[in-house]
Subunit: 448 residues, 4 copies
Amino acid sequence: MEIEIATIGGFEEVGRQMTAVRAGEDVVVFDMGLNLSQVLIHDNVETEQMHSLDLIDMGAIPDDRVMSDLEGDVQAIVPTHGHLDHIGAISKLAHRYNAPVVATPYTIELVKQQVKGENKFSVDNDLVKMDAGGTMSIGPQCELEFVNVSHSVIDAINPVLHTPEGSVVYGLDKRIDHNPVIGDPIDMERFREIGREDNGVLCYIEDCTNAGHKGRTPSESVARTHLKDTLQSIEDYDGGIVATTFSSHIARVKSLVEFAEEIGRKPVLLGRSMEKYSGTAERLDFVEFPGDLGMYGHRKSVDRTFKRIMKEGKEKFLPVVTGHQGEPRAMLTRMARGETPFELDDGDKVIFSARVIPEPTNEGQRYQAERLLKMQGARIYDEIHVSGHLREEGHYQMLDALQPQHVIPGHQDLQGFAPYVDLAESQGYAVGRDLHVTRNGNMITLVE
Amino acid sequence: MEIEIATIGGFEEVGRQMTAVRAGEDVVVFDMGLNLSQVLIHDNVETEQMHSLDLIDMGAIPDDRVMSDLEGDVQAIVPTHGHLDHIGAISKLAHRYNAPVVATPYTIELVKQQVKGENKFSVDNDLVKMDAGGTMSIGPQCELEFVNVSHSVIDAINPVLHTPEGSVVYGLDKRIDHNPVIGDPIDMERFREIGREDNGVLCYIEDCTNAGHKGRTPSESVARTHLKDTLQSIEDYDGGIVATTFSSHIARVKSLVEFAEEIGRKPVLLGRSMEKYSGTAERLDFVEFPGDLGMYGHRKSVDRTFKRIMKEGKEKFLPVVTGHQGEPRAMLTRMARGETPFELDDGDKVIFSARVIPEPTNEGQRYQAERLLKMQGARIYDEIHVSGHLREEGHYQMLDALQPQHVIPGHQDLQGFAPYVDLAESQGYAVGRDLHVTRNGNMITLVE
Amino acid sequence: MEIEIATIGGFEEVGRQMTAVRAGEDVVVFDMGLNLSQVLIHDNVETEQMHSLDLIDMGAIPDDRVMSDLEGDVQAIVPTHGHLDHIGAISKLAHRYNAPVVATPYTIELVKQQVKGENKFSVDNDLVKMDAGGTMSIGPQCELEFVNVSHSVIDAINPVLHTPEGSVVYGLDKRIDHNPVIGDPIDMERFREIGREDNGVLCYIEDCTNAGHKGRTPSESVARTHLKDTLQSIEDYDGGIVATTFSSHIARVKSLVEFAEEIGRKPVLLGRSMEKYSGTAERLDFVEFPGDLGMYGHRKSVDRTFKRIMKEGKEKFLPVVTGHQGEPRAMLTRMARGETPFELDDGDKVIFSARVIPEPTNEGQRYQAERLLKMQGARIYDEIHVSGHLREEGHYQMLDALQPQHVIPGHQDLQGFAPYVDLAESQGYAVGRDLHVTRNGNMITLVE
Amino acid sequence: MEIEIATIGGFEEVGRQMTAVRAGEDVVVFDMGLNLSQVLIHDNVETEQMHSLDLIDMGAIPDDRVMSDLEGDVQAIVPTHGHLDHIGAISKLAHRYNAPVVATPYTIELVKQQVKGENKFSVDNDLVKMDAGGTMSIGPQCELEFVNVSHSVIDAINPVLHTPEGSVVYGLDKRIDHNPVIGDPIDMERFREIGREDNGVLCYIEDCTNAGHKGRTPSESVARTHLKDTLQSIEDYDGGIVATTFSSHIARVKSLVEFAEEIGRKPVLLGRSMEKYSGTAERLDFVEFPGDLGMYGHRKSVDRTFKRIMKEGKEKFLPVVTGHQGEPRAMLTRMARGETPFELDDGDKVIFSARVIPEPTNEGQRYQAERLLKMQGARIYDEIHVSGHLREEGHYQMLDALQPQHVIPGHQDLQGFAPYVDLAESQGYAVGRDLHVTRNGNMITLVE
């Protein structure tokens, strides 16, 4: 059976991920993501109104025109998890394919919301939920399987396409975590089985984001211990404490909510995406929050909540808000600018359970947000966080488990591939033979 | 009562700490440390043979000639803990003073060994043990108290000299740790009492090492969780695993020993200072190691152990060795150079439960050690560590607890003082009034 | 005669410089500057309308309320050169003093424009021009002298107040430059004389901006050679070339204009501050530009010029524009956003004859500007620049020339003072004795 | 005609450069270099005694076993210039090929010395001198041409193999310099011609060392202006001045010699490689030094010279010595350790006309050397230097001049290739099509 892989997007950048695998007549598309930074660099761009070709030209969504070179039919569009760089282009591209979107329940729910907000295209592909561990047929001979992984959002999986020639493992966006706080640990046992069974792994497509970092990405339980330690240390403080983290990072939000209660404060989630991601997670029973946990997205209800906090006493609450990157319009930045009813006093604590995404734009914005917070007397705690992406030794362990015949580094530019290529070469792979340094729009033929 | 403070050493560098406090007729000396880096920069210097004046000229030990300006009698020499930068000059300077060395039991034991190794001077000051929480009289009106703190060595305290004018708190080398793995948590309650009682705190001398780092230093329990996570993740590996950490960091060594056993390996401690610090800690009952835990310092017995490991199977052991900074003569560096019977194979793991002390000499040596290890196929895990020194928010909490009348930043050069001064000023102190930016050899009069 | 120095502003930051020297009954004020970054951090602040007390609270202008503690009359307000951090608060503070502003002609002209733009206060102090080398009496016994120095703006001086107790040298903002491109070299001979004559130098107040940089600041002639080399290398290019630099850096603008002509292009200066600084310099005969050199400040005339360039051919022009820091509203940023009639093509060159001021806000903005420029195909040349501030060896030479009795580090925060203090101590000064580590609002008594 | 390129060494590192081009039956080898860092990491390795296979295993010299796959005869071994990473393996590998070494006169002379020092192999290949601009036939249909380029050593060229299929330009190690101080400017005119003539450029192999640096590498004349400025600024100093630079950088040595004389000091060159490279350059008439310029390599004669300098007065001399990277055994490091008769005094100047090669080992050694120098009172001037390698805009200009059909990035690892690949892609090349990301030991078929 012919096996071909089209590396469509996210092979020259982080963002706008998209890869297609053709096995005989059947094609599966993994991810359709958005590169938000290519949108934000321009003033006043509203993607909801834009045509896909314009967004392709901007480098914001994958250039899927290469799909016409793939001689097969798309049977499924499979986003691995609910982050924008993996689902953000579905609303612009999916309608071109007569195929369902297949994903885990939480991801499907986020895709649904994404599609709903779209103004230009009407996207009515079927949305099919499949849990980690589930499988579905792709054409007569292939099978799609979801293997459970850990990432910084819940319900993340690595899809595996089992073909007669061996499996294609699409390994983007995970951490090897044996104590992930929410959900099951990564299913390394299954990966090892896939590595050994039948024809083994024909190809492994890997996320190189942190390949240049030594050692291993710590478990979410390490971040949780760190966070607990931090909050315990300010348990006696009788003023305001505010926390921020990635809105979609439900395990972290859950820890914040729990530790808030442990130190005698009422947690409350504030900001549009806080409400969106946590509300969705709760509705789908991924997390159980206290019955009376407030979540507010609209500015009015947020401000009303802040007024209540100021009235009842800041020392009774722990608002968890958006704005960990200092984004100009996020809640924490508004608080820093004094634009909300929440008044910061000398000694109030602000906890960034996140790290700055290392790019000068973010660094500049975050710096400004912190400067404004400090002008009001706030005390800053930051980098209480672990990454969601494998580091060097995680990559080493994945190669060891899967023993793939071919490896394709992804989710980075060439500079980001470099340390992964070094690792793979040290394990016996060779560039141009079984280690494929590729670019957006390339086609790699594995079996002719 | 006249109160004067002589800032003798460690106010222009990290290393050779020494401060003297005069209260009326009585003087207490805090720390007599060695700046090892001023020794190692020269080839072939053997400090054991050297005269103190030469070591003073080299900047290696405190220039205590300023002591002659202090009109009072030294009643006690009080090292806060057993690190060389706090006790390393006792063998060169203590004999000049007719006063006992007063310290906690573990520290006293290390002082004893230090003095024993001295070849030039005969140091026969009394060595007096006092536990954290203990007190002793200094002259007719003052009292010395030891307050328990957490640091990267066990049995560390902050000494407090209670005078009729208020307390002088010598705050060097601590972390606010509520879960320190070994020993009691830092006694913040006592610090708060001292801040409120009688005349409160007249003066606080503070360790600025990490004052420029945002947030708080995590608890040792965070490093422990991180270490556990790391070792669990390689539990299935059936080859060699080697770990290194600060030899004097008994809590960390204890965690390594415990987790080694949890993953089914026999721990063994190798290298001269590994044997010295851990052996001393065990003898003094600070830590309970497994009955059959091997500790070997002499090269011959180390090599014999390595041979046994090679024979019985590397997968059965977890050697904990010296060499976390890539020091040329330490055990791990010898292993990296293939100078020991322990043979590294492809995939063997080396765990640095330490961070590189940020100075180009160390960075160069560590880089070389890692390069040599990797040439043999070793996989590196590093920075599994937390600092022993307060960061910005720890300093904030200490100022809040003690409410000192005067503050003296220490344990750094001026660049290192700068962020602490910013913090203290934000809390209402003013340089030149109650915030004393000082240098080695200065005298500060607090009460005339 | 009593000599006192009030370090009013710019001793905890770069910006809002202000120092007052009292000699007997007479006071001279050096600089009244603005810290622009404290203004820009807030949205929509218009300083022209604001009251000085509000600007003091914002940390934007010096808090001159300490002046009431100085028992003497202000005889002169002496800005050293025309940068905003030295003259920007004159419009807010000078009217409180019954004293002329005394400065070099170019500086006076910029002060005049500054005062003219003020909407809140009416500032009608006399504006007195005095050239480098000139002197004027201050009270019966003192004399003010201007010594010529080199900086990144023309007509900069170091004022010296000669008193019976020795001279007070106010040494802010200079480079030792023997080939400054415009104007005379720094007058080191005069500094050496001042160091030797009469009572020598009582006190030297020094600009520590670059004290932590090794070596010496290169001469402007080095930047000029570098710039020439750059432009020569693209002499054959037949598309657009655009350059940007500090608008007030007339020597650099002059070099750009000259080299533009050497490579056969017509230079043109675009942007409000380009027009302001270069126009003023030309009117005052500091620089001779080609008779037909266009300078346009208003957006309309700039856009008209761009249209002409597009029509006549980009290869015939070299626009020198504002925007070297990526400032959101500057000309180059507008070009990058495609908001001007100038269209960038693949291969067009953009020359930053400046370096990014190292602060995350600037770095973020500059990064965005470059990204936008590159999206249009522009080729970037940057850091063709030398600093206007002394580095370590320049400071060493100044101390050697002046041999001051007292030294006061300035123009930085404490972190910035640190390397200068190290240097001064290595030359025999001691903190607290003759080396004064000071803060905003302090008073230093030199002669009682 | 079949054209194949074997990328043998230096495609995964900087060092051990080697590339072979087969055109029909004939093969030309470009460079045979040594990766010194792979030797120095081990203690006590003496390469002179070692077998090539052992050096290949160490990664020190190119693994030329791939040459057996090339079906043709080696007609010439062509080192581009005299640096060790380009000629250092000739003594170990050249004797395997029945072909002359063809190089420019200065390079041939250095090869001769290299071969003479070899103890293991007897290398008696013909050594053929050919000047920049010269040509020689390679087989019946091809021609080898040397195009003059600028680099940090004199007499550097880029060899071009003209074949019926177009030219293969081997572009390693150059800077576009129109004012190189010694020798002719880079021959851009000839490169442009080669780009246009006949079949144009079939393939361009490029040095990516500085591809990730923005802008252009400044001309040597910029370093010269900078150096002149530095020396002028200390013209009046009446103590010791010492300078160090790359020994093989004759243009820089020449500038140092000239400026020494301009400030009234007698230059003298000290250290083994100083004598070797400058002596050779003078003998071959590449540089005219003052008739009485002393050059001493042996330790005894160096120390004798230092004694003379101390006796006659340090203020009369300017020693130019080895040791710019802080190498432990170099002359400057010996001076820093007080191991030579030259005594440094407070205020003496040390000029590093070099930059630290950015690698932790060098950084550590250089840091130690500077620390030792400063302990003796020396004042340090550093980074008075420009690189010998093209930056981004130089690469842009070369692609523009040559318009090659194929591009092969070299002289780096993959991380180093990345920015070059970005550039080439922005100019229309595509990885895997005409942009070849290769590794050591690969074969690239350009014409089948």
